[in-house]
Amino acid sequence: MSQLPPGFRITRETNTDEFFINMGPQHPSTHGALRLTLRMDGETIIELVPHFGYIHRGMEKQAESMTYLQYIALSDRQDYLTAIQNNLGVVIALEKGMNVGVPEKAEYIRVMLQELGRIASHLVFFGCFGGDLGGQTCLLFGFKEREMIHDILEEVTGSRLTTNFFRPGGSRYDVPDTFIPRVKDFLDHLEDSMRDYERFLSKNIIVQERSIGIGVLSKEDAIAYGCSGPVLRASGVEFDVRRANPYSIYDQFDFDIPTAKNGDCYDRYNVRIAEIHESMKILRQCIDKFPKEGAWRSKEKPVRLPVGRYYSEIETAKGLYATYVVAATTGDKPYRIHTRGPSFPHIGALNKMCQGHKISDLVTIMATLDPVIPEIDR
């Protein structure tokens, strides 16, 4: 083939059997409107090129004509699986600019909702991973417990998916009295379910056959591609923003950072499952220490940022989510807001991980990267 389509780089001696497949933007396993062009040799992938932009909404441009508070609602629509965590990322950047403190109770609410969101996102991963391997039942199992988290979020924030909950200095509302007992019940329930689910998937011989040694991402590559979150930790780098650069009150809790060393699909799966358990551990500590009394937000202030540049980074379920706010004039509108989402670098590493694997493995690898396309395109 003298002329390769744009993006393909590898040159081969013999390429008579090659053909190209267009995977997406409407494909069951691309997790949204992502398009991959695959260069195949039979069932084996030689090279792939991802194409973005099918769900681009120009969020960062929109943000320039929005107030800061309006942008919090937009952050929900980036990674909709970790909406509540994205809210916090934006809010922390704003707090740095406004220079407001957060009362203790508000911090506890934040941490608890963060961890509930993390569990919800990882449960979706669990479901999609099983589903993408062909076990449709898994999908429903993962979503079953996620529904319970959404019920709790609905009670607290008023909406199930796009929460738009945190505000500089606290949150929109106080949590209801039923919040703590509900979380406690949910944790007890999840403990049982996770035991079943892990037996269902982790110890399944077919799952192990299909994921061990597949899509290996070495430690060096993971760092070079800018991976973060469970993908980075599965490659053996013990990096978690909650520990490396603590925000909110994460430094007060006792939790481990699960890592693995091979960086294959099974490791990424295991790291996420272990993170569910760590999140449950944090939630239990929160329940024990949750302050009954006290203000749930600091004194209300108009959201006006002085001239400057403000940066925040948090650990969402997917990885490092950073917000960079540039305020050129003192006021309620930004000059520019840039978001660094975790999924984009992961898709960048996809080509590296897929080369030489089968098309079925691509589906496995995609599932373990757990990308959310609206967050890549924004």
Partner: protein, 373 residues
């Protein structure tokens, strides 16, 4: 040449009544040859209607059953709105599918494209004609039943290959090629296990295979040969799952990878035919498993006369379908429990595990017969 020999009471009744009815005709056109031809045609028609009724009638039941089993495995309710517990849902779905416009993608080989769904239907229909549903309920009681089944089962893969190839779609082609490789490989194990059954029962006729299991439940081939029978049954279960292209061996469809595999481009009636063929294959494979291992239409007698009398009162056809639906339920539970192996792992499993085990099983079965007979 294969001549259907209709030996059931209905066949005798038709042969009996046709000459009597012929007496009302003018004497000039009466003849024994005509009578026998008419009797043969009427019998053939009855057989075709019976096979169609069993096959096409069971498809909506199975689709409903699959949706319900799947739903309850997944903590859902499944169809609930149309009719009592969604019983009419399948009929509505079928009607919708039949009224859809049928079209082929541009660049498709039209003849092959429309021929493929018909070809996949051939095999399950022929197999169904060979299965004894009751003591007198068999359409074609041929002496070479098992070889015929092995022979016609390969038709299915032809339809899938044609369908995938003629669709002018790379996903379809990949699915078809996968399925071709898979079905041809698993056909070998499938045939080997049927060979094992032929060896232990000493007959290739399905009726004699069934009647060889007469007695108590322990005389069924699954239990009669200790351990070996059970292993053979499990191996049959695995290879027939692969033979039917059902999950976890549904790599030919592999929704998550190939968006539907060989039937990606099909819609309306041709798609319904692929769907139908899949479910009829489920019935025929279960029926084959029941006939070869679970005593066919024989009741599960336990050797206590008082109980057995009651069990024997139930017609054989009811026992047969009870067992068939139990097998189908097993297939469905497996489908909704396991994840799908990769294409190369599937082939490894067949050639490096299933086939050697089958060969060992055959040798062990032969040794058993030599030692204990």
């Amino acid at each position: 040449m294969f001549v259907p020999s209709i030996t059931n009471p209905i066949g005798d009744f038709v042969r009996d009544i046709v000459p009597r009815l012929a007496e009302y005709l003018p004497a000039s056109i009466q003849s024994d040859t005509l009578n026998s031809i008419v009797a043969f045609l009427v019998n053939a028609l009855i057989c075709v209607i019976a096979v169609c009724a069993v096959n096409i009638g069971s498809a909506p039941i199975l689709i409903y059953m699959e949706r319900k089993v799947c739903a309850h495995v997944q903590c859902r309710l499944g169809p609930m709105r149309l009719g009592w517990h969604g019983t009419i849902q399948t009929i509505a779905d079928v009607l919708k599918m039949l009224f859809k416009e049928v079209y082929a993608p541009s660049g498709a080989d039209k003849l092959m494209f429309y021929l493929a769904p018909l070809i996949v239907l051939i095999a399950p229909f022929i197999v169904c004609a060979l299965i004894p549903f009751g003591r007198n309920l068999v359409v074609a009681d041929v002496s070479m039943g098992i070889p015929l089944i092995i022979a016609v089962n390969g038709f299915g893969v032809l339809g899938i290959l044609l369908g995938g190839w003629s669709s002018n779609n790379k996903y379809s082609l990949l699915g078809a090629l996968r399925s071709g490789a898979q079905m041809i490989s698993y056909e070998i194990s499938f045939a080997m296990i049927l060979l094992f059954v032929v060896m232990i029962s000493g007959s290739t006729n399905l009726m004699s295979i069934t009647m060889g299991q007469e007695g108590t439940i322990l005389d069924w081939w699954i239990f009669k040969i200790p351990v070996l029978g059970f292993i053979a049954f499990i191996l049959f279960f695995i290879s027939s799952t692969a033979e039917m292209n059902r999950a976890p061996f549904d790599i030919a469809e592999a929704e998550q990878e190939l968006t539907g595999g060989y039937h990606t481009e099909y819609n309306g009636t041709p798609f319904a035919m692929f769907y139908l063929a899949e479910y009829i294959a489920l019935v025929t494979n279960s029926a084959l498993a029941v006939t070869c291992f679970l005593g066919g239409f024989l009741p599960p007698c336990i050797g206590i006369a008082a109980v057995d009398n009651y069990l024997n009162m139930v017609p054989g056809v009811i026992w047969f379908f009870a067992k068939v639906y139990f097998m189908i339920w097993c297939y469905m539970m497996v489908r909704w429990t396991f994840v799908r192996p990769r294409v190369d792992q599937l082939m490894d499993f067949e050639w490096k595990f299933l086939l050697p085990v089958n060969l060992v099983l055959l040798v062990a079965g032969a040794a058993y017969i030599v030692v204990f007979n």
